[in-house]
Subunit: 150 residues, 2 copies
DNA sequence: CTTAGTGCAAAGCTTTTGCACTGCA
DNA sequence: TGCAGTGCAAAAGCTTTGCACTAAG
């Protein structure tokens, strides 16, 4: 996805930040693995394949940067690992992007649904809280694990 | 709420665990502050008022125990603190218990809604994932903060 | 050239663990 | 009395930070 890379370069320059090989390499890793929900260590390992001298601190700093620029989303699945995934370029789609977490095998999948729109309107009119973002996590058992249990 | 305390004592004994002053004191703190979403440090400080010699490790161990016994719920609001609150004794109600987090003042409020039932059925029939629990967090601005901004 | 970015190692935090002691059952 | 529970301090993770060096603009 060179378009994300270009967007990234533009964003960096707009903010007076430098375009470095390390930053591009990290974005590349996240970009080529859109549905893997990577931990920092996993990102670090993947990036080292292309860029063996990179330091873990740079990975942390770059991920923070990417998150601030809204190119990457942080994910906490309560499994003890903090994960990151490339964000959807379409802000509205990202807003409808939720996660299914299997309690048995730990697999993570995503689904899209605008299920919360009504609720958010209801909350606004009843207590005046204006919802700007939301996070929905569904925990359970995936088909495979349920079949294995039989 | 002596009923929760009694339930707790019964649960402990059922599991062959001992009823100690420390455990009761920690449950008491959570019980008397049902809507405060306390961090471990806050719990530790409150318990020390009644029980000054308690160790932080005991607080961690007891909270883990309470969570395992489903008396306490863990909450991660992405604000850098892990929080705990007393769980609803009614399992179904707990399942419909969600959080509103104000991005400006950090206030946390709860609301109840069974909004996800349809969705969960839909997910089960389409991909065979059986949802057993869910977590919904809504981020935005509370009425007070929106008014202050004007 | 200038200074943001980087790698490394050290420091900081939260949470967990090992061990000798305490107190519930 | 016996063993689960506790307090303390050390260890273990993960993440951040300070500093001298490197490289982007």
């Amino acid at each position: 996805m060179p378009e994300t890379q270009d967007k990234f370069k533009v964003l960096l320059r707009e903010h007076g930040l430098k375009v470095t090989n390390q930053r591009i390499a990290i974005l590349q890793v996240l970009n080529t693995r859109p549905n893997e929900h990577l931990t920092v260590d996993e990102i670090y390992d993947y990036v080292k394949e292309d860029y063996p001298d990179i330091g873990l601190a740079t990975v942390y700093r770059t991920i923070l940067l990417l998150t601030d620029l809204n190119l990457v989303e942080k994910l906490n699945l309560e499994d003890g690992y903090v994960r990151y995934e490339i964000g959807d370029k379409d802000r509205d789609k990202a807003h409808r992007h939720h996660h299914l977490i299997c309690l048995e095998c730990g697999s993570i999948s995503s689904f899209q649904d605008d299920l919360l729109e009504n609720l958010e309107n209801k909350i606004f009119s009843s207590i005046g809280f204006k919802v700007e973002d939301h996070e929905v996590k569904l925990f359970g058992r995936c088909r495979k694990c349920r079949n294995n249990a039989d």
